[in-house]
Assembly symmetry: C2
Homo-oligomer: 272 residues x 2
Amino acid sequence: MSVQTVESIEGFRKVLDEERRAGRTVGLVPTMGFLHDGHASLMRRAAAECDVVAATIFVNPLQFAVSEDLSSYPRDLAADQRLAEAAGVTWLFAPPVEEMYPGDVHTTVTVAGESEGLEGEIRPTHFAGVATVVAKLCNIAGPCRAYFGEKDWQQLQVVRRMVADLSMPVEVVGCPIVREPDGLALSSRNAYLSAAERRAATVLHRALRAGADAADPVEAMRRVVAAEPLAELDYAEMRDGRLLVAARLGTTRLLDNLAWEGPSDNHKALEG
Amino acid sequence: MSVQTVESIEGFRKVLDEERRAGRTVGLVPTMGFLHDGHASLMRRAAAECDVVAATIFVNPLQFAVSEDLSSYPRDLAADQRLAEAAGVTWLFAPPVEEMYPGDVHTTVTVAGESEGLEGEIRPTHFAGVATVVAKLCNIAGPCRAYFGEKDWQQLQVVRRMVADLSMPVEVVGCPIVREPDGLALSSRNAYLSAAERRAATVLHRALRAGADAADPVEAMRRVVAAEPLAELDYAEMRDGRLLVAARLGTTRLLDNLAWEGPSDNHKALEG
């Protein structure tokens, strides 16, 4: 079945209500578009686990600060439709900004704790914008399983917490990061990178791998990023057993993260 | 059909999902219990307009400041069950606090503008607590018409705005204030009043009626409250064509409001 694009809130709500009324479970994949194989992996997973898949494409102004890349954020709806269709999406919700926010938005959803530090320190209003738009998209979509990539690890924790605290009728599913062959995590923002920056951008994954194998992972990650002249570190931290790194390549901010399971036995032996 | 009381989130969600699956529309009446005829009027209206009525009874800690009357707030579940049943309620959701908030709540819904001034000035965290719990109750209840009394006028505006901004699948219905024969607006907090305070409490309605008939309604309301020795004014204001008054009778805070349609012709003639 080919993908159907819906632009209105009431239209999207209606088609998914009808799917559920017919007894079908709904998988939801919220995105900002300019889709890549990371998004496709979420859609394929949703298609494997749910009867029908809906994806949303909305570059949400609320989650960009004035100084950030809202106006330059890459967009390509025709390509997105092709990718979504190939990945098993039936309903694509691509609302204009005026449909989502016809006037001032007075309502904000904030998530203390999970939103603090890391991205929340560098982008103080970012996660309120994310939580608010995810709440709105879920309210429109209705009961569903919602798929989010682990690449935006902190965002996933924020969404999980919001859904639990507000008893939203949503099951949040986190999905593994998809990487280029050289280790770079897929991101729509990779499109901003120059050829030289693209080569240097593997530094995030290299830093995480060094951290995963070190007794002092934060120090190891910092050392790897410091050795890359084109990269400037925003943070390298460990939280809840996860290594997280953010760095700028020129004007492009990239994120990555990896599970940390303690130093390897080999490493311990060397230390001992 | 007799009223059924449900204590668990999943249980309440399930019975209302089943009602909708059977094609029945759901009316929701969120309350803090200690029900009176004002609540009953909401329930009867919901019963007239919807196929099945659900009411919730939850004294929500999030909307009380530390100094406020959370622990002393009046409760009487058995009486509430009888009133709800007589008013046409089928499902009564009365969750324990631990069911609604099993641990720390990190997520807060705030509504700028509508929450500011009036109650929001005197109770700075109140409307965030209200918006958060109403969002949660609506997420649990699912698509419905939700009935709120106009007695808490500012709360009604906060809820309307949240529902619109977040595209919640809820139609908010505001219902007229129910009054005692002497004009006092029904409120669970009226139970706190001594006999003398109860007699003096008509001052709120008297002030509103004086304001409704005056060229300077705020001044008129203030004058009426100032003349009542047992009452202390918190505010008397006009907002969006509504006169709003709050006053303390001893330690009990009472609210009331009334539409303002401009000074009467009679009054204008006298002024001219």
